[in-house]
Structure formats: C-alpha cells, structure tokens
C-alpha cells in the first residue's frame, strides 16, 4: 500500500490539497494515513486554530503522531512568533507544489528515522508520561536545542515553544518538569539568563523599584555625597551647588577638582514624600499581573537554560527508564547477552545429563519498582542502582552467569547449586535489595523471584517465555 507523504490538517474541508497529500480533519488523527504519513501540514490563517491543531498533535498518545514533524504555512507563521517557533518547519505552501524543499525533507527523514519515533507508547499516566514524551520529542530532534524565547505575551516571560504545546495548562509545570529532567541528568542546560517570577502568580513582569525605608514611597532621589578635604564638610552634592559651581556651604570656598579638593565617598538618598534621608533604599517589586507588592528576595528567581537531551536521556527516551538499570548492571556485573546465556544453559543441561551426579539451578528475579524509584531519586538513581548491583556481586560466584530478560527481570545460572542452595542465595539477594530500598526510599521493595532446578529436560525458553 502506498504511503501518503503528508496529511494536511485543516478546519476547512474544502481546502485544495497539493499533490501527494491528503486532507484530514484535526479530530481524525487516529486515521491510518495520519499514522503512516511522513509529516503533518497545518493549514489555515487563524493562529488560534493552528495552535489548537498543534496541541492536538503533540498530546496524542501515539509516538507516530505526536513526534511527527509538523509543517506550518508561512502565512500563519508570520502572524505569531511563538507559533512560528513551535513547529518543525515553515513552508511556502501553495495549492499545487509539494510543501517541502530537499533540505526540509532530509530533516523530516532524520526525525522519522530516530528510534524514539518507533517506540510503543507506555500506558503510564501523569507526570512521568509527559516527561517520557518530552524526552522522546527532544530525542527525535536531538540536533535542536530547545531555546527559550522571551515574549511579552507570555505570563512567565519565557517560553519553550516546541515543548510548551505538550502542556495544555498555562502554569509552571513545564519549568518544574524541565528542572526535574535536568536534575536527573536526562537533559542538560546551557545558561541563557536569570529571571524573577512573581511568587504568587508566576508572572515574569515585575516592576522593580527603590522605595523609602520610612514611608515606602518610590518618590525618592539619590545624590552624591561630597567630602570637602579642606574643612572636612560632608553633605549631599545638591547643597554644594551654587549656579554652575560647587561651593562649600561651610567654608564658602569653591570646589574645583575632584580628587584634589573633594571626593564622593558615597551616595545619599532622600524621600520627596516624608523628607527622610537614608543610605540605602528598600527594594520592592510590584507584579504587573496580580499587583502584589513583594520583596525581591521573596520572589522566585529562575535560571533560564537552553536545553538539549543527554545520552542518558536518549537512552531512556528509546528504552524507557528501566534500561538505565540494565546499563548500570552491565557496568558492574558480568552480564552476558541473552543468546550467550541460552547457550551456556544448554551446555550445562547437556553436562548434567551426561554426568548425572551434579545439579545446577536457575533463579529469576523480578525487580519491580525500579522506574518509580528513578523518578523519586533523580540523579541519585544511578548510585541506587549501583548499590543493587553490588548486592548481586556479593552473592554471586565467578562461575555463575547472569542475563537480563525484558526490562527488569534478571536470570541467573547458579552452577553446582541445588534448589535448596539456590533458594538461600535468592532470599539473600532479595533481602539485600529490600534493605537498599528501605534505606534509600524508606519503603520495602516488591522484588519477587523463583528457583528452577536444571534437570535433563530443562528448557530456558519455555521457562522464561513471556517475561519481557
């Protein structure tokens, strides 16, 4: 079946489609053509409608929809800077020509060929799911740094246009999410700026003003303090001014040269409302959105980063969070591939069948709760996984073999160990893992396991079927 190169999404059903494309209503994203097409084209002149279509795409549950490159017509893109920045490509589309140039096509292909694009969506709901979707999106566009764009039209002052469409509600959740992913080293930030946000409403538009410490009025003035060397008189510069000259009000001599006749040791402030004289004004902020007056130190100060996905983040984007555990385990234990493990087991079964005097066992452990732990622990997750790996190292011998099945299941071959011995080893490992869970997360683990005797008709494939 021929693939439709692109799908044009528009509220205008009578739109003429360029060659190779197909029209779909924005509510028909589950259509097979939408799923298989190379990219979406959002059509229309209305900015709000275009935004809504984009939000619908990015919030779809299927990777092939929400990660798909989105092309926007130049007409509507020019109307809104943020909308322009929130799509992958801008095209001078007309009713007859294919909307993409050769370079743009290459970019579309790069996104489509990314492994994240072909991942099955998890069924986990909530924040973790959004974080995974963000990671997958950033992974599929790993060449693009997600730069913040400042805009007076956004309450928070800065926007990450490509990412913001994943968040249906306008609140601080995108900031929290990006901060969380950065803390877990899944994305890395490049410093761009710092900004104060209102502690009450997240608004970035704050009026910083200096006020009188006595009456809080912003109607204050500052002046240089002048020190006349000759007589030691010190007063605000204003008091020295006589016509265009500086004359000491104490000794009535003219001040000519700074550094020779006088200096300016400090500043002095005065309030035009209450006449109070002070050395340092108070600072306050007034939020343009909620009008609340707050001290600057009580406002939220955010560091604004441009974000890029890390190698670890890409790993998780492709394989999910459980894969991180596999990586750590491989670094710390002699993990062999599943195929190699299978072969060793077959050799061991053959050996037992021949000599009949020895007995070996296989232990399968299901390490549940690992991904949830990573979400809770953030960057400490790696050391947590290392502790668990160390628990295995402590119990296993060099003659034992180990592999990982699925995302959190560990299969271990215990040579020359009967099921009783294997049961003891397994319980010890479960106990150690349980202790680590309790020490780090203050909860018991839900690790389970089972022991299998390797007799002459043992079939690993049969025993581990359905584990992954």
């Amino acid at each position: 079946m021929a693939v439709t190169p692109f799908v044009l999404l528009s509220y205008n059903a009578e739109k003429i489609i360029p060659d190779g494309g197909r029209y779909l209503s924005p509510s028909a994203l589950d259509d097979q053509d939408a799923m298989e097409s190379y990219f979406f084209v959002i059509d229309g002149d209305d900015v709000q409608q275009a935004k809504q279509i984009l939000v619908n795409i990015r919030n779809h549950l299927h990777t092939k929809i929400y990660l798909k490159p989105v092309v926007l017509g130049v007409g509507v893109a020019q109307k809104d800077r943020l909308l322009h920045a929130s799509v992958d490509l801008i095209s001078h589309m007309d009713e007859t020509a294919f909307p993409l140039s050769h370079e743009q096509e290459e970019m579309v292909n790069a996104i489509r060929s990314n492994k994240a694009f072909h991942q099955k969506e998890t069924s986990i709901l909530g924040a973790q799911q959004i974080s995974l979707r963000i990671l997958r999106f950033m992974s599929s566009r790993q060449h693009i740094e997600q730069e913040p764009i400042g805009s007076p039209n956004i309450l928070t002052g800065y926007s990450y246009p490509m990412l913001e469409v994943f968040f249906p509600n306008i609140d601080s959740s995108i900031w929290d999410m990006l901060e969380s992913l950065k803390n877990q080293h899944l994305i890395e930030g490049r410093f761009m700026s710092k900004a104060y946000h209102c502690t009450h409403c997240e608004c970035a538009f704050l009026d910083f003003m200096e006020t009188c410490p006595d009456c809080s009025s912003p109607n204050i003035e500052s002046d240089d303090m002048l020190h006349h060397f000759r007589c030691g008189h010190t007063e605000a510069m204003q008091k020295f001014k006589r016509d265009d000259m500086l004359v000491c009000p104490k000794c009535h001599l003219g001040l000519k040269q700074i550094g020779v006749d006088y200096d300016k040791p400090s500043l002095v402030f005065s309030c035009n409302e209450c006449q109070y004289i002070f050395e340092e004004p108070d600072a306050t902020t007034v939020c343009y959105n909620c009008s609340r007056r707050t001290n600057p130190e009580n406002q939220v100060q955010r560091v604004i980063y441009a974000y890029r996905i890390t190698a670890l983040g890409q790993n998780i984007a492709i394989f999910g969070q459980e894969q991180l555990f596999t990586k750590v385990l491989k670094e710390n234990l002699n993990i062999i591939s599943h195929d190699a493990f299978q072969r060793i087991v077959e050799i061991e079964v053959a050996r037992i069948k021949r000599y009949k005097s020895t007995q070996s066992s296989v232990v399968i452990l299901d390490l549940k709760g690992l991904s949830e732990a990573l979400v809770d622990l953030g960057e400490r997750g790696v050391s947590f996984y290392k502790d668990i790996a160390a628990a295995f190292v402590a119990e296993l011998r060099t003659s034992d073999a180990m592999t990982i099945v699925g995302r959190s299941k560990v299969t271990i071959l215990l040579t020359e160990t009967d099921t009783v011995g294997a049961e003891i080893v397994m319980q010890r490992m479960i106990l150690r893992v349980d202790c680590i869970f309790y020490a780090v997360l203050s909860v018991s683990s839900s690790v389970t396991g089972r022991v299998m005797a390797m007799d002459h008709d043992f079939d690993l494939k049969k025993e581990t079927h359905g584990l992954g």
Binding site: H233, T234, G259
Partner: protein, 442 residues
C-alpha cells in the same frame, strides 16, 4: 643595711626640715608654685565645692531626669571609624541596653578594608543599629563623623568611638545636663580605662584618666574653663553642631577644636563624671608615645595656630575663652619648658643635693597623686569598680610616668610640630586631606 636606710631617710628629712623658706622655694619651685596649685589645690575644689553643690542640686537633677523621660528627645549616636568591625557588635549591644532608649544609632565606615562592612550590614539587618553608612574612600574621622551628621535627626548628637563600652545609664547621664541648663552646648562623658589589667602602662593610664579626666575636667567644667570634650564620648546640641558649625573640622584633635568653636559661640561646656564609658588604651610605652605625640601636636596646631585669635583682643574677645586657651598653652607648653629649666638647674647648679632634691620631689609628687586619687574616688563614688581601688598600689609609678615619660614625649611632640609640622604627616588623616591642611596651615 636597715641602719643605712634609716640614716639616709634621717638625712633627707633633716635636709628638708632645716631648709629655710628661700631654699625650699629655690629647690622645689616647680612643685610649689605650679604643680601643687594645679594638681592639688584646684582638685580640692571637688571636695569643697563641686560635690556639695551636687548634693544641694540633687532635686534639680531629679527633675531634669523626669523632664528627659517626659520629653524623650531623640538622641543620635554617631560612631565613625575605620576597621572597627570587631568592636561594633559589642558597642551596638551596649547601646541597646541603655536606660535611655530613644536612640538612633549611626555607624559610619570610613573606607574599612576588613570585615567592618559585613558586620555593619548584619547589625543593620538585625535591627541593632539604624544606619550603616559605607564610605568607599577613606576621608578621615571628621569626614566620617560629618557623614553621620547628615543622617542624624536627633535633638542631641552623641559622638562615640567604636571601641567603647558604656555603662547602661551613660547616655541618659550625658544628656541630662542639657535638660538642666539650656545654655549648655556640649557635654563630655567620663572616659575610663577598660583594659587596665593588660599592663603597667595601661594601669598608670587608668590612674591618669581618673585624675585628668574625671577630676580635672569636672573642676574645669565647674569654673567654666573646660577646653576639651573627649571625642571618644561627647554629646552635642544638634542644632549648633549641624546648623551653626556644620560639623567637625579636619583633625587630629578635632574634639578640642569643636569644643573651642562651641565656646566661641558662647555655649557652656560641661563634663559629667557619672556618664561613664570605658575605652581601650595603648598597653605598651611605644604605642602610648604614638598616641600622645598626636594629642600633644594637636595642641600646637589648634591652640597656637588655628585658634590663636582667641588670645587677641577683638570685638569677639571673651575673657573666659582667653583664660581657657591661655591656661591650656601655659600648663602644657610653658610649664614643659619650665620643667626642663628646673631640671637643668638642679642638675648643674644644685648637683650636690641632686639625689636629695630628686627623692623629696618624688615624695611630694607621690603625695599629690595620692590626694588626687582620693579626690577621684570621692567624685566617681558609686560608679567605681572594685579593681579601681586596686590601682592604689601603682600610685608610686605616677611621678615617673607623668613627671618624666609624658614630659619627654610632650617635648618631642611640641618640637616636631613647631619645627616640622609633623601633625600634617600623621596617617590618622588620609594624605589627600592632610596635604591641603598643611598647604593652607589649617
């Protein structure tokens, strides 16, 4: 051995008792004509006039205190200084524990390069002081004090050194004279020695302060001839200091200078011996010499040069001011010259009795010091501490300290100031200020 001592004492006693009046005057004129009246007879006025008057006026003092707490005028405390961070917290605590609490505390940092800005800003944040003003460039003490004056809103200004410790009623006591007599423009606090236990040098200074400041200034204040209010602890009428005089002039010796200016305007100067503060004094002789050189040079610079007009007859001539400055110059510069002449006389003309004259002089000066010390004890009364009584054991050192050490230092100070104008090279002021003062002879 004992017999030798006895015979020597007998010899000295015999020598002294059998001298006729002419010979006594010839050998001991310095003590009998100048130092006895100046150090003993004048001090006795405390016993016979000052304290009885104080007792008689006790109800007036009580009423003044009631008036002070009824009116509760704002008192601005100005603390200028450089690199005084280590003292500021204690001083601020001491000020916040005062019996008179309507205070406005202004600390001026005169270009410190230690942790003073950190300490000052912390005290401000904690609400222990009202202002911390940082002058990035050092301008000298007068400049720093004048900076503080701009912010001061009080009816009275108190100038304090940062290393002081105040008795908890010191501010109340130093303000009370203003409520008693509205012609008083300045009040001096009673500066005492805080670190007397540090060394012998500090102990003899403690006795000197008891005599010179407590007793000497109380007497001078009583007779209307007080010529200095210590810069360490002095209170001023703000309207005069700020509006009429426009603050302090360039130092060193700015405390004596501002006192004379108040006097010139006709204001009374008062010393209050019960407004007690304690200061650190130099604890070694070289450090002490440096301090005294600065003080003594300022006498020449300000009394002889800057305010010499007081000694001249003019339309603003005031006899009391004339006498005050004259007494100051006489007792310091002239008597110092006389002391060298006296020394010259007994060494070269009366050398046969040199030892006897020296020993008898020692006992005469010791006796005068004991009398002055007893008067100081009477004057300071309930403000004395137990360790102040223990200073009695160090009185025998005083004739050497005052009679020789201070006179030698003073002589060197006067000569260097008269000949070289050394005070202008003193690092107490930054060079940018000193150079102009030197150029213009200020």
């Amino acid at each position: 051995m004992l017999w030798d001592v006895f015979s020597t004492v007998q010899d000295f006693t015999h020598f002294f008792l059998y001298l006729d009046a002419d010979r006594i005057l010839h050998y001991f004129w310095m003590f009998l004509i100048f130092d006895l009246p100046r150090y003993v007879l004048l001090d006795l006025l405390v016993i016979f006039i000052y304290l009885p008057l104080k007792y008689i006026h006790r109800h007036r003092d009580h009423r003044a205190r009631q008036q002070l707490f009824k009116e509760r005028p704002l008192v601005s405390i100005i603390v200028p200084g450089k690199n005084e961070g280590k003292h500021l917290t204690k001083l601020a605590m001491s000020l916040r524990q005062q019996t008179y609490s309507k205070l406005e505390i202004i600390i001026v940092d005169d270009g410190s390069d230690d942790d003073t800005p950190v300490v000052g800003r912390r005290l401000k944040q904690q609400g222990l002081i009202d202002y911390f003003i940082r002058n990035e460039e050092r301008g000298g003490k007068a400049s720093a004090a004048n900076t503080g004056l701009i912010y001061a809103k009080g009816r009275f200004i108190v100038h304090l050194d940062a290393d002081l410790h105040l008795n908890n009623n010191a501010i109340e006591r130093v303000i009370l004279p203003f409520m008693i007599d509205e012609r008083i423009g300045m009040v001096g606090g009673d500066v005492r020695v805080r670190n007397a236990d540090d060394s012998l040098t500090a102990r003899v200074q403690a006795i000197e302060y008891m005599k010179g400041i407590s007793v000497g200034r109380s007497v001078a204040s009583m007779v209307g001839m007080l010529r200095i209010v210590s810069g360490a602890f002095g209170a001023f009428r703000a309207d005069v200091l700020r509006d009429e005089l426009k603050g302090w002039d360039v130092g060193p010796g700015l405390d004596g200078d501002i006192t004379l200016k108040f006097r010139n305007l006709g204001w009374k100067i008062f010393h209050e011996p019960r407004a007690v503060c304690y200061t650190h004094v130099p604890n070694t002789l070289p450090k002490l010499a440096r301090q005294r050189l600065r003080w003594d040079r300022s006498i020449v610079r300000f009394r002889v040069r800057k305010h010499v007009h007081i000694l001249k007859v003019s339309k603003n001539f005031r006899m009391l001011d004339f006498l005050t400055v004259f007494e100051n110059l006489f007792s310091n510069i002239f008597l110092n010259i006389l002391w060298w002449m006296y020394l010259f006389q007994i060494v070269f003309f009366d050398s046969e009795f040199l030892l006897r004259i020296f020993v008898i002089n020692y006992f005469l000066y010791l006796a005068s010091n004991i009398i002055a010390y007893i008067i100081a004890l009477c004057l300071q009364g309930d403000t004395l501490r137990l360790k102040d009584y223990a200073l009695v054991f160090f009185l025998p050192l005083m004739p050497f300290y005052i009679g020789f050490y201070l006179r030698v230092v003073r002589t060197y100070a006067y000569m260097s100031e008269f000949i070289c104008k050394s005070s202008y090279n003193d690092t107490w002021n930054p060079w940018k200020v000193s150079s102009i003062a030197k150029k213009e002879g200020l």
